[in-house]
Amino acid sequence: MTYRVEPGLHRDVAKFGGGDVTTCMNCGTCTATCPQSAETGGFPRRIIHLLQVGHREKLAGSLEPWLCYYCGDCSESCPRDANPGETMMAARRYLTGMYDWTGLGKRFYVSTWWEIGAIAAVGLFTVGLFALFHGPVVTGRVELNTFAPVKWVEIGDWIMGGVLAFLLLSNGWRMSRWVMGAGKGVDVPFSLYLRKLPAFFAHFATQKRWRECEGPKTRWLKHFLLVTGYLTMMMLVIVGLRWFQTDEIVPFYHPTRLLGYYAAAALLYVTGDFLLGRLRRKDGIHKHSEPTDWVFLVLLGLAALTGILVHAFRLLGLPLATYSTYVAHMAIVVPMLVVEVPFGKWGHMFYRPFAAYLAAVKQGAAEAASLGPSRAA
C-alpha cells in the first residue's frame, strides 16, 4: 500500500520550534557534516525531508532524532541557513509529544502557559499537602524529621516514582511499537530484547555516543555532570532518603554529605553555565531557545539551590528557615519531576538511551536475519 502523506506536517511540527523546514533544498551537506550520522547516513536531511513530504509514519518509526546530540555542526554548514539542528530538536519534541498517550506532553510543548500552569498547580498542591499534614513545628532546634517525617515523605516519593515509571514505560512501549513496526518483516525474538538490555543502561549512564561529536569535549563533560548530578540527587531523595534526611549532623566525610555536595555543585555549575550561554546566545545551538528550555533549566537550578540552602540553614540551626526552604524545595522538585520527566525535556534522558537500545535490538535482529539462511545452507 502506498503511504498517503500528510501535507503540511511541517507546519504542525513548526509549532514545536525548529528550523525553516521548507527552506532546505535537500542538498545533504548537513548529513555529510553530522558526526553522528555516519552509520545511518541519513539524518538530519532525511528527517527534514520526511517533514517536508509529510511522512508521519516514517517519522514516528525513526530513531534518528534520538541519535542527534545537537552539536550544531549541521546548522553551521547548511548553505541555506535552514537550521537543520534545530529541526532535529523540534522533531524530538514532536516525537515526545507523539509517544505520550496522555496528550499532555504535546500541550506543554505547544503552549508555555500550559506548562507553567501545570508546574504551578503541582507546586501549589505540594505546598498544600505540607500546609495540611505537616508535623509539629519545633522552633528550639532544627527537627526537620518532626516537621516532615521521613517515612511519609518516602511514601510520597514511592507513589510519585511509580506514576513516573508507569508513564515512561507505557510511552516507551508506544515508541517501540512504532519503531519496531517500521522494520517490517524482521522477526525479533523476545530474548533479544533481554540480551540487549545492558545497552540501555550503558547509554543511560554515560550518553557515550555524544563523545563522537566534534568540537570541545566540554559539552559532553557538562552533560555528564548534569546527568550524574541529577541521578545522585534522585538516588538520595528516593532510595536513600532515610539516610539523607536526618536531623543528626553527620560528619563532613559521610557519604550522604559528600554525594549531596557533589550533586548540588554539579547542578548549580551546569545550569548556571547553560543559562548564561542561552542568555548570551553566543554559539549557534544556543541561538534558539524555546520557553521549555528555560523552564527546565530554571527549575533545575532552583532545586539545587533550595536543596543546598536547606542544608545550610540546618547547619546554622535556623529551624523556621529550614522548614520553609524545605517546603519550597519540595514545591520545585515535585513539579519538576512530575511535569518534566514524562512530558518534557527530562524525558529525553530516557528516550535517548531507549532509542540506542532499540537500535541495538534492531541491528541484532537484522544480523540474525542475514545470518539465518547462510547458517541453514
Binding site: R4, V5, T22, T23, C24, M25, N26, H49, Q52, V53
Partner: protein
C-alpha cells in the same frame, strides 16, 4: 587563356618559411613554369613596401593574374585580394598558396622534401590562376525596409528597434491582437511585471512610430527575390485583401505553442488536472483563498518536465528531447504567486532536475522559504495521477526515500508543460525556413551565427527558434535586428561570385543539380539555344558545390573550383620536377 601572364611571389615570412624551404630553389623552378612571367621573393609579402613592389611588378609586367606563396589564406587572402584590385587586376585572379602552415611548419626536418612540396604547391596555384576568370561581386541594392513576422513581444521589440534605426517596418501578426503568449501570464518573472502591461507599452510605442505598419489578422503568403530585395505578399486572414511589399530583410518571430498533453497523460482531462498555462489563467482571479470549481484548494502538486526531456517510446516515437528552459522558473514563480494569495496552501513540486539557472535561482530559494516542498522523482519512473474515490492522488517515487513510493493527496495537479514548436507549415513553406531536429527553426551556427539562417536575409528570433524566457526572446530578437540592420543600412550587399555556373553546352537538363540544391529557387530550368538547361541564380546560390558531384555531364562547376581548375591543380601537384 594560355597566353595569361602570371606573377609568382614567394614570401620568406621573415624565416618562418625560408628557414625550412629553399626559397631560391622554388623561385628558380617556378620561373620556368609556362605562363609564369615573373617570380620574385619577399622577406614579408604583407608589408607595405612589398605590396608596393608587387603592384609595380604587376603593372610593369602587365600581369593577368598572380600567385602568392605565403601563410594560410585564412590570414591574408583578403589583404592580397585588395592589393590585386589596387594594382588594377581582378581580385579573383589572385591565388594564395599556403606554404607556411601546410608546408614549412609541418615539415621542419625535411628541407629537401619541403622544398619540393612548395614547388608543387606553387605550381598548382599557378595552374589555378591561369584557369581563373575575372569575376565581379554581385552587388544588390538593398531596400531599406524590413518585414517582421509575428507580433509577440520578440517581434514587437524587433520592430521598434528597426524603426529606431530609420528602417521602415512591416509587422505582420496572424492573430487579431498583438502580444503573443505573454498577456495571458499575469505577473511574470523575474520582476513581477504584468505581461499585458509590457505588451501595452510596446503597442503604444509602435502606434507612435510612423515608419511601422502593423497588420493584424494577416499572413505572409508569398516571398520572392533574394537578400536585400525580397518581394513578399501579405494577405488578410479572411482573404479579402492582399498587399505586396518590398523589403530587404525578414525577421521571423512566430513564437511557440505550449505543450498540450494527450488525454490521460498525467491524468490530463480529469477535473483538477490542469496545465501550467491554464493554472496561470486561474490565478489572477483568486483573492484570499485559491478556489478551483468552487472548492478551496489546500494542496497543489506540480509535475515538472511534462512534454519536455521525453524519452523515445512506442507510443511516442518523436519525443521532445529538449529541456524547455523556462518552465522550472515559471513553476517556482507560479508557486510564489499562489503562496501570495494563500500562505497556507501546501505546494509539492515533483521535479527531475531543478533548472532555475542564473538569477532565477533566487526564486527557487524563495519558493522554499514560502513553504514549497521539492521532491525529486526518477527519470524512468514519472509520477502517476489517479482519482481513487473521486479525490486526486499523485503517486510518486521519492528519490530521497530510496525510490519508495508515496501518495500525495491533491486538490489541484498542475502539469508544468514545456514549449513545443508552433505549427506553422504555411510560413515554413513560403519562407523556406530551415526546421531543426526538435521542430524549432534552425540557425546557421548555435554559437557563432545564432540568428542567421541558411536563407540570406532571413533571421529568426524569440521562442520560434527554441524554448526561451522572455528576456532571452528579446535578446535574440535584438540580435536579429542588428544583423538585419547592418545589411540594410549599408545600402547594398555584395554577394560572392564564387557560385555554381552551368556549362549550357554540356547540360541536357536532367534536374539532378536542382534536386541536390537545398536553396529554394537557386536552380531553375530555362530554355536556351533551343533546349532546356539548368540555370543557377547567382544571388540565391550559396556556393557550396552540392550540385557539382551529381551532374553526370560535369556541366556544373563552382567558380574558383571548376572541374578544369581542380584537375589542372592535381596535375601540377604530381608532375615530376626536372
Amino acid at each position: 587563356m594560355i597566353g595569361k601572364r602570371i606573377g609568382a611571389f614567394l614570401c620568406h615570412c621573415g624565416g618562418n618559411i625560408s628557414d625550412y624551404v629553399d626559397e631560391e630553389k622554388v623561385r628558380a623552378a617556378v620561373e620556368k613554369e609556362s605562363g609564369v612571367a615573373v617570380a620574385k621573393t619577399f622577406l614579408f609579402a604583407c608589408s607595405e613596401a612589398s605590396q608596393e613592389e608587387m603592384i609595380r611588378t604587376i603593372r610593369e609586367e602587365k600581369l593577368d593574374g598572380i600567385v602568392i606563396a605565403s601563410c594560410s589564406p585564412k590570414l591574408h587572402l583578403d589583404t592580397f585580394r585588395a592589393m590585386a584590385r589596387r594594382s588594377g587586376i581582378n581580385r579573383y585572379m589572385y591565388t594564395q598558396v599556403n606554404v607556411r602552415e601546410q608546408c614549412s611548419w609541418a615539415h621542419r626536418h625535411e628541407r629537401e622534401e619541403a622544398t619540393e612540396k612548395a614547388i608543387r604547391l606553387v605550381r598548382a596555384g599557378v595552374a589555378h590562376s591561369r584557369l581563373g576568370v575575372p569575376l565581379t561581386d554581385l552587388r544588390i541594392e538593398t531596400t531599406p525596409a524590413a518585414l517582421v513576422v509575428g507580433a509577440g513581444v520578440a517581434g514587437m521589440r524587433a520592430a521598434l528597434a528597426l524603426s529606431d534605426m530609420g528602417i521602415a517596418v512591416y509587422l505582420v501578426e496572424q492573430a487579431a491582437r498583438v502580444g503573443g503568449r505573454v498577456p495571458a501570464w499575469g505577473k511574470m518573472f523575474p520582476n513581477d511585471r504584468e505581461g499585458a502591461e509590457i505588451v501595452d507599452t510596446l503597442l503604444q510605442a509602435i502606434r507612435r512610430r510612423e515608419n511601422i505598419t502593423l497588420f493584424t489578422g494577416a499572413e505572409v503568403v508569398e516571398k520572392r527575390g533574394s537578400v536585400g530585395d525580397f518581394s513578399v505578399k501579405v494577405r488578410a486572414a479572411d482573404g479579402t485583401e492582399e498587399i505586396a511589399l518590398r523589403v530587404g530583410a525578414i525577421v521571423v518571430a512566430t513564437g511557440f505553442d505550449p505543450y498540450l498533453p494527450a488525454a490521460g497523460e498525467f491524468g490530463y482531462g480529469a477535473p483538477g488536472v490542469v496545465t501550467l498555462p491554464e493554472f496561470r489563467e486561474l490565478l489572477p482571479a483568486a483573492e484570499g483563498k485559491l478556489r478551483y470549481r468552487d472548492r478551496e484548494v489546500r494542496n497543489i502538486v506540480y509535475i515538472y518536465c511534462v512534454g519536455s526531456r521525453q524519452a523515445a517510446a512506442k507510443e511516442n516515437p518523436r519525443p521532445n528531447l529538449y529541456c524547455s528552459r523556462y518552465c522550472c522558473t515559471a513553476a517556482v514563480h507560479t508557486a510564489l504567486l499562489a503562496a501570495g494569495v494563500d500562505a497556507g496552501v501546501n505546494q509539492y513540486h515533483l521535479y527531475r532536475d531543478m533548472r532555475t539557472y542564473g538569477k532565477n535561482e533566487i526564486l527557487f530559494e524563495e519558493a522554499g522559504r514560502k513553504g514549497s516542498v521539492f521532491l525529486r522523482y526518477p527519470d524512468d519512473a514519472p509520477p502517476v495521477v489517479e482519482r481513487p474515490g473521486g479525490e486526486l492522488l499523485v503517486r510518486v517515487r521519492d528519490v530521497l526515500l530510496g525510490g519508495e513510493e508515496i501518495g500525495i493527496p491533491a486538490d489541484l495537479v498542475v502539469l508544468v508543460t514545456g514549449m513545443a514548436p508552433r505549427e506553422n507549415a504555411n510560413l515554413v513553406n513560403v519562407l523556406k525556413l530551415p526546421v531543426g531536429a526538435g521542430g524549432f527553426f534552425n540557425e546557421i551556427h548555435p554559437k557563432l551565427r545564432p540568428v542567421e539562417t541558411m536563407i540570406d536575409g532571413v533571421f529568426i528570433s524569440g521562442a520560434a527558434q527554441g524554448p526561451k524566457t522572455l528576456a532571452e526572446s528579446v535578446a535574440s530578437s535584438l540580435a536579429a535586428v542588428s544583423k538585419g540592420a547592418a545589411l540594410l543600412l549599408k545600402g547594398y550587399v555584395d554577394l560572392s561570385p564564387l557560385v555554381a555556373k552551368v556549362d549550357t553546352e554540356a547540360c541536357a537538363w536532367c534536374g539532378e543539380c536542382g534536386n541536390a540544391c537545398p536553396y529554394d529557387g537557386a536552380v531553375e530550368r530555362v530554355r536556351q539555344g533551343g533546349k532546356e538547361v539548368a540555370y543557377v541564380h547567382p544571388a540565391l546560390c550559396k556556393g557550396c558545390g552540392g550540385c557539382v558531384p551529381v551532374c553526370p555531364a560535369e556541366a556544373v562547376g563552382l567558380e574558383g573550383y571548376t572541374n578544369d581548375q581542380v584537375k589542372a591543380m592535381i596535375d601540377a601537384l604530381v608532375r615530376e620536377i626536372v
